[in-house]
């Protein structure tokens, strides 16, 4: 066999393929190499001088058609006021490029490459405690409008941890009761807001009158089902003089006497009005949902609970009224809850000054613009003019009602439950929800279930405090 003379051709097939393999390996290694960029600390100190044009990025989770229509105008207003700042953003429901918003956001924060301003649907107190957000107290001191006392007390506390502030509550859509006026009229009940029951016994009493069953004894309409909205759990505990979490002393109070009494009350509610079997009851309808396909929207429930945004968002097909939550045996006054859209600056944000200006605007005048032209999500900023109202509400219900709703919700914001203040908020909310589920299924007593939830949450809190 003659030796192949591979040197006669300049580059034969075997050599070419060998080089191609080498080149692709080198390209793969280069792509995986760490980028030689400035460290976040260096980037943070190399901010552009005020007059220089700066481009900042804003990440958010908004996606509805109304958001797509209104938010670009709000951002444009900001850029008009601050011509040296350009804001890059998209209204797509997630981060640029797709993926789970929080997963991608936290990965970017951990990598030292975060956006300049973000919106959150979980409290900044939680993420600030874990080191994901920038404390903005020094910026707030010199801010034009976004001082600490410029916001309703409850919502701004949801942004604070150990004396530091980690964001703004742009909105504070507060919770309330909705009731179907036609059902009340049929039952011979007053449809005036001020006549709505102010105690738990009162609402249980009218629920008995509003309940309807068919010939076989199956429930076909209910009065009120109180245990359906997990985000309102701190409100219900507060209505009975209790608390879920004490931010002052940094401890959980889940198994307090007040809360055990609340759970026992809900159990008697279930037994006396709805047959005692939570699963059989849940099969009848989707309780606690004012949106289409929910029991209240379909007329299967006469009273329900939700937030201010539901006035425009829920598209209720009947005449309804809003009212305050009733008070429990150990409660002293009616309080509400709130579920903000929060704005914050991530840790190591590239342009903190410009990012703060934008965040401040979106949480104050910007959110007022959104509120007026978008949906009824009450601004958490007290500096808004008192005569504003949501135009969508005016279109749906008339000017008088729009002003009335605005006054109702903003006044109610002065009496809020302590909520969204824990560094393990998500964990505690899930754990408490499981305890309530066990109680309503009657597999554990209220004392046992709440004690276990208390121990679990307190332990998780202490572990998080140790490592933070």
């Amino acid at each position: 066999m003659e030796e192949k003379n591979e040197t006669q051709t300049p580059l034969n097939r075997r050599q070419f393929l060998k080089l191609a393999g080498l080149a692709s390996s080198a390209a793969l290694l280069a792509a995986c190499a760490k980028k030689a960029t400035e460290t976040p600390a260096e980037v943070a100190t190399q901010e552009a001088p005020p007059a220089e044009k700066v481009t900042i990025s804003w990440w958010n989770q908004f996606s509805t058609p109304t958001c797509v229509e209104v938010f670009p105008k709000v951002v444009q207003d900001f850029m008009t006021l601050n011509p040296n700042i350009t804001v890059e953003f998209e209204i797509s429901g997630g981060p640029p490029g797709g993926g789970d918003y929080m997963e991608v956001l936290l990965a970017r924060i951990a990598a030292g490459n975060p956006p300049d301003s973000i919106t959150l649907w979980s409290p900044p107190s939680q993420f600030g405690a874990q080191g994901a957000l920038m404390a903005i107290d020094s910026y707030m001191e010199s801010a034009k409008v976004a001082k600490k006392d410029a916001f309703y007390e409850g919502p701004i506390k949801s942004c604070q941890w150990k004396g530091e502030t980690f964001g703004f509550p742009a909105s504070a859509g507060d919770g309330n009761v909705f009731f179907n006026k036609k059902h009340f009229e049929e039952a011979g009940l007053s449809t005036k807001r001020e006549d709505f029951p102010t105690t738990w016994d009162g609402i249980k009493d009218i629920s008995t009158k509003l309940n309807k069953k068919d010939d076989k004894g199956t429930i076909i309409r209910t009065g009120f089902v109180p245990w359906t909205q997990r985000w309102l759990d701190p409100v219900w505990t507060g209505l009975n003089g209790g608390q879920v979490f004490d931010p002052q002393n940094i401890k959980y109070l889940i198994d307090s006497e007040n809360n055990v009494e609340l759970m026992k009350y809900w159990l008697t509610y279930l037994d006396d009005l709805y047959g005692g079997d939570i699963e059989a009851f849940n099969v009848i309808a989707t309780w606690g949902d004012v949106y289409p396909t929910g029991a209240f929207n379909l007329g299967v429930s006469s009273i329900d609970q939700s937030g201010a945004w539901a006035v425009t968002d829920a598209a209720l097909p009947f005449d309804f009224e809003v009212a305050k939550f009733p008070v429990g045996p150990k409660g002293t006054k009616s309080i509400t809850g709130f579920w903000p859209n929060w704005f914050a600056l991530p840790k190591a944000t590239p342009h903190p000054s410009e990012g703060f200006l934008f965040t401040e605007y979106m949480s104050t005048d910007g959110w007022v613009t959104w509120y007026i032209n978008g949906v009824m999500d009450i601004p958490a900023w007290k500096g808004a003019a008192p005569d504003i109202y949501c135009k969508a509400v005016e279109t749906m219900f008339g000017l008088e009602r729009a002003k009335d709703f605005h006054k109702f919700y903003t006044d109610y914001l002065n009496d809020t439950a302590t909520m969204w203040t824990s560094p393990v908020e998500d964990f505690a909310s899930t754990t408490l929800g499981q305890a309530i589920d066990e109680i309503l299924h009657k597999v554990k007593s209220p004392e046992q279930a709440l004690k276990e939830a208390q121990d679990t949450c307190q332990k998780k809190l202490e572990e998080t405090m140790q490592s933070s």
Partner: protein, 318 residues
Amino acid sequence: MSENLASQLSVKPSRFNMNQRKREAITGYLFVSPWIISLLIFTAYPVIASFFFSMTDYNILRPPEFVGLKNFQNMFFEDPLFWISVKNTVYYALLSVPLGLLVGLLLAMLLNQKLTGIGVYRTIYYLPSLVPAVAATLLWLVILDPRLGLVNQGLRSIGLAPVGWFQSAVWAKPALILMSMWLGSGSSMLIFLAALKEVPQSLMDAAMIDGAGALQRFRHVTLPLISPTILFNLIMGIIGSFQVFGTAFVATGSANTAGPLNSMLMYMLLLYRNAFRYYSMGYASAMALVMFLVLVLITALTIRSSSAWVYYETAGRQ
């Protein structure tokens, strides 16, 4: 044979052959190097990193802090949800795997017939396997809706009480198993069908001549010959059932809830919740390590047991 040819065919390697073989080996390694490098970077490194993180307290926002076996201690002795998820997952696996094998085999036997249009039937039975898990779960949420779903409407029409399905602590897991059988039977059916086609007709004919009935032919001829395929489907089924996530995630609506009384809290769902809701990456990595070790053990035991019941035509029972 010429002397030259004889010398070239000589066993003794010449220096030229060593260099040639070495060059060929290096060339081969270079060609597979992109795949090896990506395997090391995107598979091996994350696995090794996960082993490390399992012994740390790590929330991705701060550097990991070594805590030794604390995560495992929490898992086994202090986290009640861990044992609930283990119980749910074992329940799911113990029912879904045997049922899946049985349904797949029965379908394959039905479809292993010479009938006009049999290809159409095979396609119909295989199609559910192509449906994405999320879409399939949403579909089954409608079918099993307690109020308006087809199944409960059928139950009502024959005088039976409707079932809560995903809203019932008792029926949630059976609903998941039902859904998994619809989703997974097509794939196992196809593999069983291929195995059934390999059963020599001569053996079946010989058995018939010897007086064996259909059941006896199945038990003594067909079953042994398809036992390697059963082993394969069994192992894949066990691994898949222990890692059930997508259907449970969609059926529960999120990772924060897990059905009534945590009835759909599967192991991977709890792992996901710890990793991506609570950002306890260390604890989640510990859970992943435990899952890995358990699956390795179960797979090893299954393969070891196969010597007693798997028949390989070339070697008999091994």
